[in-house]
């Protein structure tokens, strides 16, 4: 029976939801390939139980003292060695920054093609896939020809779900790594964010070029605070230096998924839209009724944001009796 390896991204044993998505997708893919679904765990982390809950029939525990923490070169080399030894039909991971980085490392070392951020895959002699371009604004149909197929699946494209429960056999693989691999190991971590972050906030009040200046964000700050949310912005705003890049929503910024996104003076260019489209509701405040943000939003107010935003805050305070 052929083998589909799923590389589980983890941070010193913490398993992000993306790894569970990869197993979920891998389960169906392995079935379509008539392959066994086997997980790869780099380092000593014990993830056997959860891998089994999601249907992995084996766990390859890839060990070496240099794999105690994350390092792209060490992880890539270790997985490449495992692939040479196990000769799987395919290897996949979740298309996060780290997942794609490890797969690219593996691909470079094995001199094999790698297709990043697939949405769907049809296995066969040659694989056919649909993958993401432009951060999701455009799709690409591709084929992949290789002895071992290497792919990643776009993060958040599906919901992770346990299934096909198995009690995996654990197979230890001792990787052969010399000290040169320590060059790209994590040496330290600095924790910056605490509390609500842009990507987890229930409300995001975002401003675009229409806000006009750094100071003019004060009413947006006030509204966000009243709603326990965060302020976001467009790239036009970060380019003008009005807000830090960490506030930017979009393809090259943060992807958000709030209960409501309030987009003020933002035209809704595709690169902004892909960062905002997972919002459950969108309210656009814009003077231009034809703006892309307005025509794509569920709710809109066609007016000057400088008048509307303070009026919302005032109405909230009035109802709260403040």
């Amino acid at each position: 029976m052929s083998i589909l390896l799923v590389v589980l991204e983890h941070d010193r044993g913490d398993l992000p939801v993306g790894s569970l998505e990869a197993l979920t997708v891998g389960r169906d893919l392995a079935a379509s390939m008539d392959a066994s679904l086997e997980a790869v765990v780099v380092g000593d982390a014990d993830l056997t139980a959860v891998a089994g809950e999601y249907g992995a029939t084996a766990v390859h525990q890839v060990t070496n003292e240099m794999l105690a923490d994350y390092g792209p070169d060490a992880w890539g080399e270790a997985v490449a060695q495992l692939v040479r030894s196990v000769a799987p039909a395919a290897v996949m991971a979740v298309g996060t920054d780290r997942g794609n980085e490890v797969m690219a490392q593996v691909a470079a070392r094995l001199d094999l093609p790698f297709v990043a951020n697939c949405l769907s895959v049809e296995a066969g002699d040659t694989w056919s896939m649909t993958r993401v371009q432009w951060g999701g604004s455009l799709l690409e149909d591709s084929t992949l020809t290789a002895d071992t197929k290497l792919v990643s699946f776009a993060h958040h494209a599906i919901e992770a779900a346990p299934g096909g429960a198995a009690s995996p056999t654990v197979k230890t693989f001792e990787a052969d790594l010399d000290h040169s691999y320590t060059a790209t190991m994590i040496t330290d971590r600095v924790v910056l964010a605490s509390g609500v972050t842009l990507s987890t906030a229930p409300v995001v009040v975002s401003g675009g070029r229409g806000v006009g200046s750094e100071d003019a964000f004060a009413p947006l700050e006030e509204l966000a605070e009243l709603l326990g949310g965060r302020v976001g912005c467009s790239r036009a705003v970060t380019n003008n230096g009005w807000r830090p890049h960490s506030d930017q929503v979009g393809q090259t910024g943060t992807r958000i998924a709030p209960e409501i996104y309030i987009a003020c003076g933002i035209s809704g260019a595709i690169q902004h839209w892909v960062g905002a489209m997972a919002s459950k509701n969108i309210l656009a405040i814009n003077t231009d009724s034809d703006a892309n943000m307005v025509t794509k939003a569920g709710y809109a107010v066609i007016a000057d944001l400088h008048e509307v935003v303070p009026a919302i805050s005032a109405e909230i305070r009035r109802r709260r009796g403040q």
């Binding site: 490392q105 470079a108 999701g136 690409e140 060059a183 964010a193 930017q248 709710y299 109802r319």
Partner: protein, 254 residues
Amino acid sequence: MRVLVCVKRVPAPGAKINVTGDGLAVDTTHLGFTTSPHEECALEEAVQIIEREGGEVVVLTLGPAEAEEQLRYAASVGGTGFVLIPNGGADWDPQRTASAIADAIRALEADGGEFDLIMFGNESADAGGFQVGVRVAHKLGRPIVNGIKGIEVTPEGFTAHRAIDTGVEVYKLPKPAVMGVKEGINLPRYPTMKGRLASRKAEIATMELNAPAGGQAMLKLHRPPEQPSTTEILGTGPEAAAAIVDLLDELGVL
């Protein structure tokens, strides 16, 4: 310090992205072009580094002949050397791209000395293959870390910060090193008038290189299905506040 920055020319679509009739490319009839944002920031970072440390910033692009525009732009914001690898106009797959770029780097280093630092964008804005930098670094036998949003030059090499959801991971890389950089590492400068004038005279070296195609073949591009949406207009002035707050209340975020 000798730094190389690899950049990609990409179209700059606005509200919509259209595909050509044959489905093989983005329809750029009415579009301008730009440097992929991550790479624009990589270039700015390189220029800031040589402003502090002294040295040179070579900017390399693999693309159509028109990518000269992005190299001239790079000249206007502080690049000092410029290399174009023509690809005939159609995108090359990641393996082919990486082979050609690695060959170019070997030739440039044989001529002008080793690059202390080679920078790529974390991923290109259009194809987003997430691999060319890693492949090039591996071919050169150099360490690479992606997702970099902060670089400090140290006596031993570089301290690099990689942004994650909750903060940063810190890496200490020896020289020579390779990095995949992300937008947000800095705020790229705009060209000055003087820079613009100088960029017209910048000398661009063309390197004719080729490499075999890799195993990924693009068949066709298409737009994702659009969710049909109807927009409910809540008002045309500040009086809409009442309806908005009703909505916030309904959604349970008040």
